[in-house]
Amino acid sequence: MRYKITHRTTYTYSEPVPVCHNQVLLTPRDDPHQRCRWHSLLIRPKPAHTLRRRDNYGNHVHAFSIETNHRKLEVTASSRVQVAPRTPPDSVTSRPWEEVVRSVRQQTAADWLEACQFVFDSQAIQAREELAQYAAQSFTPARPIVEAVIDFTGRIKNEFKYDTKATHVGTTTEEAFRLRRGVCQDFAHVQIACLRSLGVPARYVSGYLRTVPPPGKPRLVGADQSHAWASVYCGESLWLDVDPTNAVVCSNDHVTLAWGRDYTDVCPIKGTFLGGGAHTLHVSVDVAPLDEA
């Protein structure tokens, strides 16, 4: 599947901003089933400096500064991405989940150090006994890990209510878990927190989801949004991407932008500015499939 993705973020200020420093993660990374064929990052006004680097997780980061007075900042990331369907691993024959946990804990897995980065607490996610117990209903003794993860993903979709009003960007994982409500960011955080509480490494993935319009309706341009889900370590070199908001195993409808320990590692845009008075933010995302569905 090929996509053309346009992600535009606009900040408008009531007073001029003389200087701002920013960092954005808006360039899709490559992985075995995804290739970014073309990408452009357009920043208006033109930055004094732009520097591109890979962060510790291999994500593409652009840092830029604007040093001229501006009342509007517009960042437009355009990408053409090719995504191959992923064949989900056979759930029944996968290893018992405790074995996977042990292979990381005892550092026997070849990629234990990589996996290890995603098993401990991070800024937005803290392991707790209560979360482990919640996950344990899916993670019954010796259950194959892929089966357990898929079951657990479905439970979050069923037992949590999707509610854009209940949470905001600063809502803690603990609070979202207590409310049993939230948006994709909260669902992903809750799932990851539960898995880590059991000792299963899991990372936070930021990206996009292809939207399928209702039957007979045209696809609305710009109505899409950023998305987030979890990627779970299921044994050596096997990371299974699951989407708790939609209760699916990710295949070629999901486009990966970046991953990290939680939202704070992969925040699409962050930065500081001087002055500016009141500011408003507008985001528009368009995920257009280039092939016939």
Binding site: Y11, V19, H21, N22, Q23, A48, H49, L51, R53, D55, N56, Y57, A63, S65, E67, Q107, W112, L113, C116, Q117, F120, D121, Y162, T164, T167, H168, V169, G170, V183, C184, Q185, S206, L209, T211, V212, D224, Q225, S226, H227, A228, T245, N246, D265, C267, I269, K270, G271, T272, F273, L274, G275, G276, H279, L281, V283
Partner: protein, 855 residues
């Protein structure tokens, strides 16, 4: 060694220490176990005893006074007591060079080791791969940011400054109690201790052949210089301080002055054009090296702790680009965590192939199951600390806890074992401390300092010694302990006489200006000038009013009094209600309210509030004004308080006495500025502030008193001259013949009178003309236009026209001129601020947004 030591003449020379009894079970630094003075203390003991208790007391008091004055010079808000956590002691701690060298050799190894660990953790992480260090220890560390990884650091080292907290156990061995790898504090205090102690005991100091500290600071300067990108000949280095609110500010300011670096707060710096810039009056100047005194994770709000307002947005990107170097590098704090201590012996063997030369106090990181078990079993023998130190958190001694608190501690450890370490106690050595009861054994905590050099590390030949009668207190934090001692390393070879203060034999390049003037400092000097002048204006007006209220004359006959009261009301010093009608009936209320109003610091325009503002501004620029000028300001502040031991209502006459003192002090401050301050841009901004304020004050005074023509203007003219400090000049010219035109000539047009409006405006025009500006731009700036146009308006005004009143008894010409000045002065102030002083507001975060998606 010159004259015979006077000690020879004192018969009972051991008497001073005769009653000194070392504490059993502890090593004593001065006396061996058999009660003999250790040989390296003998010379000191003889000379010290020769001084006798009286002389020691006198010298100590003198030294403590010096330290207090340093405190007054450097510390914020004049709180001399809080500059130093401890008093200086009369006795130094003496150590033999050979012993110290071997201890420092061990610490060099340790610094190299920590440097290696830091480099590894910020890059290949081989120590984790080789399973020498648990991955959890790094990945759960709250100070570990992924942004630190692969951050370039020029040169061989990632750790430029290292300090070790040491204790000596009963067998005489030194142990490392803690490592400091962030921005180790204490070297400034060690330096201050040395300067004060060597002055207190000059001949003893010389006779004992003490190693000098300067060589260490010379190395430190070399190291920082070498770090500069593109190996520039003369890199710009700043000492980056948290600012006056930080507990380390005294040290930062003291070190900056000693090392001759510009002291810069985050507000003085900015990231522009992918470089770190110092915001000065003339221009933004690129910085090559930041001598960092801030916590690692507040340094850059873009990539590190986002909520931090303390740092410099975009700094990490500049470091990554190699355009600036921070020392210590960001992330250096990681390895000072006590959690690492238990792993150091193994890492040392693994990495350096040799045993760790100086042992750490036994430390268990509870994140490991066997360590946790061990710790819980013998909890009462141990101290519990946070594993990832984020500040000076005192350790917990489980034996001192109630049963309940102890249970809750155990529960916390079991819940998050990785957050805790446990350490054994060390029975710390003792040293004589000079108390009222004579020398008394107190316990010793020593901090040693190392700086990276060409080969490995250089150690400060000395250290910061803290002493306390209660050894537990010393474990709490760097600032804990009652006293501090100088540390003398007794040389066994030639003494390196190098000094940072006066490079002998080397011609000093001549300079006409000091280090660059940051815009923030200019801004504060400008407002200081305004505050000083405002205080003087207020005090003079108040004095004239109070003098009349307390005079024996009939109030009804004092025609100028209602007018003066209106001036006070317009300045916001009293309630406007007092000046409406019927002075006689309000008078008792005014007499009661006025003295209180003078000292009311809640009213923003009161004299007390203005003096507070003056003190605040002076305290943040006190490294730019002379010590005497700062003393005067402190004195003004102390004087503008209600008379002491006063209960009940204040009398107007008491206040009058205070005002007389304050006015004289303000005049001395002005004299200091005129006679002792070099004519740099800093002085210019102080002057601009003062002149603008005086124009505003005098215009307001004339507006209220003379625009309206009244009957019997004589007393009013007299009072105006008095407030404007021009009575003498007037009398010399016109005797007692009081008329409006000559008064206005003197106060408005006469450029020879330093109190006249024309004089202020002429000086303002000169100052503005001298401010730095882009020479390529031909158009005059706003500030130049305002300064020149107001000066011309005053010069062209005709005094006869100004004095002439129209039929409605209003002096329209005068009113027009004064209104123009009152309108233009704030504009001049703003124009100067906009052009020179405002480079920055408060940085803010972008609002993040929630991602939503559901199919």
């Amino acid at each position: 060694m010159t004259a015979q030591p006077p000690a020879e003449t004192t018969p009972d020379r051991q008497s001073l220490f005769a009653s000194y009894r070392p504490v059993p079970g502890h090593y004593d630094e001065m006396f061996s176990a058999d009660g003999q003075v250790r040989p390296h203390w003998a010379e000191f003991a003889r000379r010290f005893e020769a001084l006798g208790p009286g002389d020691i007391k006198r010298r100590l008091e003198q030294a403590q006074r010096l330290i207090r004055e340093n405190g007054v010079t450097y510390n914020a808000y004049g709180e001399a007591e809080s500059t130093r956590p401890w008093h200086l002691d009369a006795v130094p701690l003496l150590l033999e060079a050979a012993e110290w060298r071997s201890a420092m050799q061990a610490l060099k190894q340790r610094a190299l080791l920590l440097d290696h660990i830091l480099a590894d953790l910020s890059g290949p992480q081989q120590l984790l791969r080789d399973k020498i260090l648990p991955a959890e220890l790094l990945f759960t560390h709250p100070g570990y940011y992924r942004s630190y990884i692969d951050m370039p650091v020029p040169g061989k080292r990632r750790l430029h400054f290292y300090a070790a907290d040491l204790a000596r156990s009963p067998d005489g061995a030194w142990w490392v109690i803690g490592d400091r790898t962030r921005a180790p504090s204490g070297m400034g205090y060690a330096l201050e201790n040395r300067i004060a102690t060597s002055r207190m005991l000059p001949s003893t100091f010389r006779a004992c052949r003490v190693e000098r500290l300067a060589s260490y600071f010379i190395t430190l300067r070399e190291t920082l210089k070498e770090l500069a990108p593109q190996s520039r000949e003369n890199p710009r280095i700043v000492l980056w301080t948290e600012g006056p609110s930080s507990p380390h500010y005294f040290e930062d300011a003291y070190l900056a002055r000693y090392l001759n670096y510009t002291l810069a707060e985050s507000g003085d710096l900015a990231v522009r054009n992918n470089q770190v810039m110092l915001k000065t009056l003339g221009a933004l100047l690129p910085i090559q090296v930041l001598f960092r005194r801030l916590d690692d994770d507040v340094c850059d709000p873009v990539e590190l702790r986002g909520s931090s307002k303390a740092g410099l947005a975009g700094l990490l990107q500049v470091i990554r680009s190699g355009n600036v170097v921070a020392a210590n590098p960001l992330g250096s704090r990681l390895v000072e965590s006590p959690a690492f201590m238990g792993f150091l012996p193994a890492i040392c063997e693994h990495v350096l192939g040799e045993p760790l030369a100086m042992p750490s106090v036994a430390t268990w990181w509870c994140g490991q199951p066997y360590a946790l078990k061990h710790v819980l079993e013998r909890l009462d023998d141990l101290l519990i600390r946070p594993a990832f130190r984020t500040g000076d958190v005192p350790p917990v001694n489980p034996t001192s806890l109630s049963r309940r608190a102890r249970e809750s501690l155990v529960a916390s450890i079991k819940a998050r074992p990785g957050d805790y370490v446990a350490q054994e106690h060390i029975a710390r050595s003792t040293v004589p401390v000079w108390t009222d009861a004579g020398p008394t054994p107190w316990h010793v905590a020593m901090r040693a300092f190392l700086v990276a050099n060409e080969e490995s590390y250089a150690a400060l030949p000395g250290g910061l010694v803290r002493v306390s009668p209660n050894p537990e207190v010393l474990d709490w934090s760097m600032t804990a302990g009652e006293r501090s001692q100088d540390c003398w390393i007794l040389a066994d070879g030639p003494i390196d006489q190098k000094s940072l203060l006066d490079p002998e034999g080397q011609p000093v390049p001549l300079r006409r200006s000091g280090s660059e003037l940051p815009s923030r400092v200019a801004d504060n000097l400008f407002w200081l000038g305004r505050a000083v002048e405002r205080a003087e204006g207020a005090a003079r007006l108040l004095r004239s009013v109070l003098a009349r209220l307390t005079s024996e004359a009939n109030i009804e006959t004092l025609h100028e009094l209602p007018v003066l009261l209106r001036c006070l009301a317009e300045q916001g010093q009293i309630e406007p209600g007092f000046v409406v009608e019927g002075l006689q009936q309000h008078l008792p209320a005014i007499e009661k309210a006025l003295p209180a109003a003078v000292f009311n610091d809640q009213e923003s325009r009161s004299l007390r509030a203005t003096v507070n503002e003056m003190l605040r501004l002076a305290s943040i620029v006190r490294d730019r004004i002379s010590i005497d000028a700062w003393r005067i300001i402190n004195q003004i502040s102390q004087r503008s308080t209600p008379p002491r031991f006063f209960h009940g209502d204040l009398e107007a006459s008491d206040v009058l006495a205070v005002l007389n003192h304050v006015i004289v002090d303000l005049a001395s401050f002005a004299g200091m500025v005129a006679e002792s301050m070099t004519r740099t841009q800093g002085w210019r901004f102080l002057e601009i502030g003062r002149r603008i304020e005086r124009v505003m004050h005098t215009s307001a005074l004339l507006q209220t008193t003379l625009v309206e023509r009244r009957e019997q203007e004589g007393p009013i003219l007299d009072a105006v001259l008095e407030v404007a400090d021009s009575t003498m000049t007037y009398r010399a010219r016109y005797l007692a013949n009081l008329q409006v035109a000559p008064v206005l000539d003197l106060l408005v047009s006469d450029e020879l009178n330093p109190r006249s409006l024309a004089y202020q405006l002429a000086r303002l025009a000169e100052h503005v003309d001298q401010l730095p500006r882009d020479q390529s731009i031909a158009v005059r700036g706003q500030e130049e236009r305002v300064a020149l146009s107001t000066l011309n308006a005053v010069r062209l005004a005709d005094v006869q026209d100004l004095s002439a009143a129209q039929s409605d008894d209003v002096r329209r010409q005068l009113e027009r001129l004064l209104t123009r000045l009152s309108d233009q002065m704030p504009k001049l102030s703003d124009a100067i601020s906009n052009r020179y002083l405002i480079h920055a507001g408060v940085a803010r975060q972008f609002q993040s947004y929630v991602m939503e998606h559901e199919s």
